[in-house]
């Protein structure tokens, strides 16, 4: 239970920071997608099905918070979690440079999907501008990995976010 509360609190921080602090650190309006980064971290430390469910539920919370196109983030973060679970089988979770590459690739794919679905739903974006935003967000997310991942990984493997023993054995 304590674990879920901590995960939810981190999600809330991920929702508040981009609109406030990261506004001052944004490059041409581009800020990191912390909710997506958080789902990537969660999916890296859970089994595929659990990761996808986490992705969907977190996405739904993000959608409610944004109040627009409810379900968009839910689908995208579930797909992001799926991609992570497919890729992480060939990846070392402990290696930070590799995790940065993983975060970059998955964020590019996730944001591209986001741009495609949002455009279909009615948001107007030019291709060139969308590409700029996608690459910007992905690069920003990737830069945040060395600053955040060591703590998150430690917490998931031996700290407060560590999954229960039973789940650990099944892994």
């Amino acid at each position: 239970m304590k674990r879920f509360i901590v995960m939810l609190l981190i999600l809330i921080v991920c929702l508040i920071l981009p609109g406030t602090i990261f506004h001052y650190w944004s490059w041409a309006g581009i800020k990191p997608d912390l909710a997506m980064l958080w789902v990537i971290y969660i999916a890296l430390h859970h089994r595929p099905t659990q990761g996808i469910v986490y992705g969907f539920v977190i996405g739904l919370i993000v959608d409610f918070y944004l109040g627009r196109y409810i379900g968009l983030y839910a689908i995208i973060l579930a797909v992001v979690a799926l991609l992570i679970s497919m890729l992480q089988q060939r990846w070392y979770r402990e290696n930070i440079p590799l995790t940065m590459v993983l975060v970059f690739i998955v964020t590019v794919l996730g944001q591209t999907l986001m741009a495609l679905i949002a455009t279909t739903a009615g948001l107007n974006w030019y291709l060139g501008d969308a590409v700029k935003v996608i690459l910007g967000i992905s690069f920003y997310n990737c830069l945040l990995v060395p600053l955040t991942y060591p703590f998150v990984h430690k917490s998931f493997t031996e700290g407060i976010l560590q999954p229960k023993k039973k789940i650990e054995q099944q892994l």
Partner: protein, 288 residues
């Protein structure tokens, strides 16, 4: 022994979830007015925290700017002094024109043009920006308790900012003109004083990372005489924005790829990045 997994069952479940989600995406687009109690509750709980961070951030930004860019601030000060002199001269000329405009307004009242001055304005402070880079919205600290309604126009001192898209008792979300869905009916005032109508919409053209001002776009017919430097105002058509609120200045005109339209880039008068205070224009029910 683990449970047997039925692949067909999983496929049906995934398909059902996808279908439901795609339907809700479609139904909860902009202007749908669908209820969002979870989001509203989150907004209510989180807005004081967001507001506190925002105030702190502004304080730090202002103070650090003064300390670290002393030379820039000094140069800026000299520049501003020069501008004050020029503006004082301009002001005198304008006063004469105001007198002429007053006469025009008397005539205008006859035609009952819905101009901005005739409405009540509610001052509001921005407490949050949209966390996603895809949506261009801000949250302000005034809501339905203060008389804010969905679709109310939002202006800053210099010009149009956007419109209210959702309201909670204490906060409301404002869709900026820069958003991909932030269209507004507008006209450009040509050099002969004639109005050329069109629609202004948000684009995302930011040339360098240092140029943080977004640009807007407006389409005209091939034979419309629009020039760089023309001012763009709201047209009052479309029943959301009152007439004659300034939007921006035409900076560049291009012919579109098909050669049928002129596409004008418009630099908004409002600096959306450093926007802190706005006014919500309260339009009485039934007068749209």
């Amino acid at each position: 022994m683990g449970k047997k997994i039925n692949p067909m069952g999983i496929a049906v479940l995934v398909f059902a979830v996808l279908l439901i989600t795609l339907t809700t995406i479609h139904l909860t687009g902009l202007g749908s007015q669908s209820p969002n109690p979870v989001g509203n509750a989150m907004q209510r709980v989180l807005s004081p925290i967001e507001s506190a961070i925002w105030n702190l951030g502004d304080g730090i930004k202002d103070n650090f700017r003064a300390i670290f860019s002393f030379r820039t601030v000094k140069a800026e000060n000299e520049e501003l002094r020069k501008q004050v002199e020029t503006l004082t001269g301009d002001n005198l000329q304008l006063k004469q024109q105001v007198l002429a405009a007053l006469r025009y307004q008397e005539l205008d009242a006859v035609f009952q043009s819905p101009s901005l001055e005739s409405y009540e304005k509610i001052g509001a402070t921005i407490i949050n920006r949209n966390p996603s880079a895809w949506y261009q919205t801000v949250t302000v600290n005034k809501g339905s308790d203060h008389g804010v309604k969905v679709d109310d126009p939002v202006v800053a001192n210099l010009g149009l900012v956007g419109k209210v898209i959702s309201v909670t008792p204490k906060t409301s979300d404002v869709l900026l003109l820069l958003d991909g869905e932030g269209q507004v009916g507008a006209f450009a005032r040509g050099n002969k004083g004639e109005a050329i109508f069109g629609i202004v919409k948000g684009t995302y053209k930011k040339n360098t990372r240092l140029n943080s001002s977004g640009e807007l776009e407006m389409n005209f017919r091939q034979d419309d005489e629009v020039n760089a430097g023309d001012l763009v105002y709201t047209s009052g058509l479309g029943e959301v924005y009152p007439k004659d609120i300034s939007i921006g200045v035409v900076t560049e005109i291009k012919i579109d790829a098909k050669g049928l339209l002129k596409v004008a880039s418009i630099e908004p008068i409002v600096d959306f990045d450093s926007l802190e205070e706005v006014y919500v224009v309260s339009i009485p029910e039934g007068s749209r």
